[in-house]
Amino acid sequence: MTDRSGVENAATRAIDSSFRRLIIDGIERRITSLSWIARASGVGLCFGSIGFVLLFVSVIERGGELTLITRPVPMRIALALPSLLVVFTLSTAVGALLAWRYRYWSLRARVHQTFLAALGVGFVWQLYSLGFIAA
């Protein structure tokens, strides 16, 4: 009985260990892959930009322009996003350059990455122009 439960425990530990290894390997493989980081930056840029506008507009709709002075937590979160968008834009742009240099992905995906970088630069320029990003 004791032997049997010991074997079961060892098997469970082995499965846990290999599962954990699989996840860690997957994460390691992704975060050390420049092409994956480049694409993830593009995804982050899209979600972040849309999220910023939705959050900012919803806070202004609920609390009015006064929330820009009183700065409730949702507004603080919204105002923190533009700095993150600068990082995403830079990494998307660098990723686009690397994609052309090292021929990552299909041609269409490379053009799309370049297009995203250009949109990001335009969006960040407007955020800077509107005072959301300090010089």
């Binding site: 892959s33 994956w36 899209c46 506008v53 322009e65 820009l68």
Partner: protein
């Protein structure tokens, strides 16, 4: 510099302007003054009021409160803002215009390089200054609108590609970036 604003009018409140204009302010004539069309073209543009913040996130309030000035034909100008307040103005003196349907007045300071300031009698606390083209509402609106549309379409495209890959449909090219790499 040609400062076209009548000194007395700039210190009047809108209410006093209403009574005074009937006495002293030149009345708009039905025929446009000579050169009024050129002057209406010259003052066209976008103006931002000076008392609003020019730095920090509050700048967006300034961007939303802008007044656009356009020639309206026959020497008249029209002003508009994002809140839908559209008014027509007729010239009473060179670079001085009076509201067609009211008693408000606007005057433009004009220098060698064009308009340097716009004064409105109903806003005695602030001066409107011309806004460069790259900071105008239209430019901001187009850039932000196109960017957001592109981001949204990208997310939809990725979603569709991911769904096709998951449920076995045809996928053109590798959109995920997780396949072939360096």
């Amino acid at each position: 510099m040609d400062i076209a604003w009548p000194a007395a009018a700039s210190r009047r409140s809108p209410a006093r302007t209403a009574t005074k204009t009937s006495d002293s302010t030149p009345q708009p004539s039905s025929t446009p003054q000579p050169g009024s069309r050129e002057r209406a073209d010259a003052v066209a543009g976008e103006y931002g009021v000076s008392f609003l913040p020019q730095s920090g996130p509050l700048q967006i309030v300034d961007r939303l409160e802008r007044v656009s000035v356009e020639p309206a034909g026959n020497g008249r100008i029209s002003t508009g803002s994002l809140d839908g307040d559209t008014r027509q103005w007729v010239e009473t003196e060179p670079h001085v215009f009076r509201d067609v349907d009211g008693h408000d007045a606007i005057a433009f300071e004009v220098g060698d390089d064009g308009v340097t300031a716009m004064h409105m009698s109903s806003e005695p606390a602030g001066v409107y200054q011309p806004v460069p083209i790259h900071e105008r509402q239209l430019v901001s609106g187009v850039v932000v609108g196109v960017s957001l549309a592109g981001f949204a379409l990208s997310l939809v495209g990725w979603g569709v590609t991911g769904a096709r890959r998951r449920w076995g449909g045809p996928v053109d090219g590798d959109e995920s970036g997780t396949g072939r790499s360096e």
